[in-house]
């Protein structure tokens, strides 16, 4: 057996995984019948449908010939890690982590950290450039979100703002 389309093969497996998980989850709720559908009825239907679709996609990926092999190609691990990492760091700085006793550091600190981490994902990284960008973004965001739109976002660290 040769995988003709790598993209289809793995996306099929992914759908089968999701399908089985939802089907199994749905059976833990009351299913009911068509005229009195329980909370599990619709998800069970869809879960089975998704599993079947996933299997069909996997079958197609080994049966239908492709010329290129439909390779997935390299993963942008660096971009993935920095972009999502920047987002997580921002969340932690804005909201704090009560479970480990980390206080909220506010929007401004969050913007600097996010911009610096996210910039690492770019093709060329310059610390000074990133710092300038962060300052511009921080000033603009403060003006737009805190002053003009009055969003309920703490701007400064909790120990300063009180």
């Amino acid at each position: 057996m040769k995988i003709e389309s790598q993209k289809d093969f793995f996306s099929g497996l992914l759908f089968v995984g999701f399908g089985i998980a939802f089907t199994w989850g749905a059976t833990t709720y009351k299913i009911g019948q068509a005229d009195r559908m329980g909370p599990g009825y619709f998800p069970l239907m869809l879960g089975i449908l998704l599993t079947v679709l996933g299997v069909l996609i996997v079958v197609k990926s080994v049966v239908v010939k492709t010329e290129s092999g439909d390779k997935i190609g390299g993963w942008a691990w660096k971009a993935l890690a920095y972009v999502l990492g920047a987002n997580l760091a921002f969340g932690v700085l804005l909201g704090g982590l009560p479970s480990i006793g980390l206080p909220a550091a506010g929007l401004i600190a969050g913007i600097y950290v996010l911009t610096l981490i996210a910039s690492l994902a770019g093709r060329r990284f310059g610390f000074r450039r990133a710092l300038i960008l962060a300052t511009v973004l921080a000033a603009l965001s403060y003006l737009a979100f805190v002053v003009l739109l009055k969003l309920q976002i703490p701007a400064w660290p909790a120990f300063i703002a009180g």
């Binding site: 005229d35 879960g47 971009a79 996010l114 911009t115």
Partner: protein, 503 residues
């Protein structure tokens, strides 16, 4: 006449200074993200949604709608000057638009795109105003069975339009439906698939999904691609106005594009994208006049027709949303979310219950189109400068606005974790060639579909044949099957694949 008094009411609402300002902000951001490749209206609307919480609902919707049709204007600028589609719906504009720019005719190409869009937008708005009432009358005949069948038709429509494998697109819809029903079941009060996490009892936020998949997923995928050679024709934009000969060529093309775009925009699954593809394909079939430049080498009709079509489609895709409450595409699905946040239940009752909102939104679209012509023609120089900003500066800003948008929606850190998960999933989908738009549509329709299915089967005492014995419902399902069959026909299948590989 009724229509005129309604439009007068609408203009009364849309012409207040506040609403004019919000229409302008929407159009401005729309053009901005339209010009910038790599960020689309879905992520932008999700990003700016929290900023509209404090606004009255009319102003919020006016602004969000402006982003969508504004993006249709901005998208053409990048297509013509950089040969990169600023928006998916401007993909075909690249073909002839960029060739025109290379021949030093960027000015007329830009002007044609903007003026064609304006004409098409005006027609689209009129269609919206004229068809709204008859469709709401039809909608009043709809029972739960019809609504369910209509949603099936809508989802099939979205699948047919997705590029790539049909099976994968259907699987994405189903996965979207499943994600949509996470949270408390309205009938039994049972929290489903919430793993005991309190934040999940209300379901997954649609901002989280839209932002994760369309925002972060796209950014990561863009960063993963190597930067191609880009030649930006920025210094050569002078004498904007088309010659008399150009005008003669574009007038019929604009009319054809507008007609196709308006009709295809209303279809379930339709919107700006389908219209643009179809209009370009059709325009190529119209025989060339003697001495006319062939298509693909800078024919001005190849800009006029798809650009008119995408804007006409952007306006008319509001018709199913405002009259039936069914979103025909991912952007409209977000508008449903926005309406619900502002306590408006989308559907046929909107026109009766909130006439000032309904007609105000329609009137504002025409005003917005007028603003966009001004934003995009005399001020074209600003947008060209923007194209020179390197992506290294742009993407951290986009990441930041996504993060602020997510946090501000519910003011909790939980959403930030969730968006990271969906950002990862979104990137995986892009790598695996699964288009995410059908997933978002399924996500919004999931709860509505379950509710209507449940009611329909309750009324029919569990008899599934109710969907095919009620004539309206049977008709809608037949249309869905017909649509699927057409796509599966061998001849159409190869054409469809060709259309998407032309990108």
């Amino acid at each position: 006449m009724d229509l005129f008094s309604n439009l007068a009411l609408g203009f009364g609402v849309a012409l207040t200074p506040g609403n004019l300002l919000y229409a302008f902000i929407g159009c401005f951001f729309g053009t901005l993200i339209g010009v910038l490749p790599g960020i689309g209206p879905v992520a932008t609307i999700a990003m700016l949604l929290p900023a509209t919480f404090a606004l009255p609902p009319v102003s919020a919707l006016i602004m969000l709608a402006g982003i969508y049709y504004g993006a249709q204007y901005g998208g053409s600028t990048t297509s013509i000057l950089v040969n990169l589609p600023g928006e998916a719906s401007s993909v075909v504009t690249c073909i002839d638009g960029y060739q025109m720019a290379r021949q030093g005719r960027a000015g007329p190409a830009l002007a044609t795109a903007a003026l064609g869009s304006f004409f098409a937008g005006s027609v689209g708005v009129l269609m919206l105003a004229a068809f709204a009432r008859p469709l709401t009358v039809l909608a009043s005949k709809f029972g739960p069975a019809e609504y369910f069948s209509l949603m099936v038709l809508g989802l099939i429509g979205a699948v047919v339009l997705a590029s790539g494998s049909l099976l994968k697109a259907i699987a994405m819809v189903v996965l979207g439906l499943l994600l949509g029903i996470v949270g408390t079941d309205v009938n039994s009060g049972v929290p489903r698939f919430s793993f005991g996490i309190p934040e999940l009892i209300d379901g997954i936020g649609f901002v989280v999904i839209a932002m994760g998949i369309f925002g972060y997923g796209e950014i990561i995928s863009n960063l993963g691609q190597s930067e191609g050679e880009r030649e930006v024709f920025t210094s050569r934009v002078h004498h904007l106005f088309p010659t008399r000969q150009d005008l003669k060529a574009i007038t019929p093309a604009v009319l054809r594009g507008t007609a196709m775009g308006s009709v295809l925009g209303v279809l379930p699954g339709g919107g700006a994208l389908l219209g643009a593809f179809a209009a370009y394909a059709f325009e190529k079939k119209v025989p060339l006049k003697p001495a006319e430049i062939p298509f693909g080498q800078g024919n001005i009709r190849g800009v006029a027709s798809p650009e008119s079509a995408n804007n006409a489609g952007a306006q008319t895709s509001f018709i199913p949303l405002l009259t039936l409450g069914i979103p025909p595409n991912a952007v409209m699905a977000l508008m449903v979310g926005a309406m619900i946040i502002h306590n408006i239940q989308p559907g046929p009752q909107v026109m009766a219950r909130n006439p000032e909102l309904f007609w105000g939104l329609i009137a504002s679209m025409w005003i917005g189109n007028l603003m966009l012509v001004i934003l995009n023609l005399p001020l074209i120089g600003i947008w060209i400068k923007l194209l020179k900003v390197p992506y290294d500066f742009l993407f951290p800003a986009i990441v930041l606005f996504c993060a602020i948008g997510v946090f501000a929606t519910n003011n909790n850190t939980f959403d930030v974790w969730m968006v990271a998960i969906f950002g990862f999933i979104g990137y995986v989908f892009i790598k695996l060639g699964c288009e995410p738009a059908p997933l978002l549509l399924g996500f919004i329709l999931g709860p509505m579909m379950e509710e209507n299915l449940r009611r329909a089967l309750l009324l029919s005492l569990g008899d599934w044949s109710t969907f095919v014995t009620r004539p309206l419902s049977a008709g809608l399902l037949a249309a869905a099957i017909l649509l699927l069959c057409i796509v599966l026909l061998p001849a159409v299948k190869t054409k469809r694949e060709a259309a998407f590989t032309e990108e």
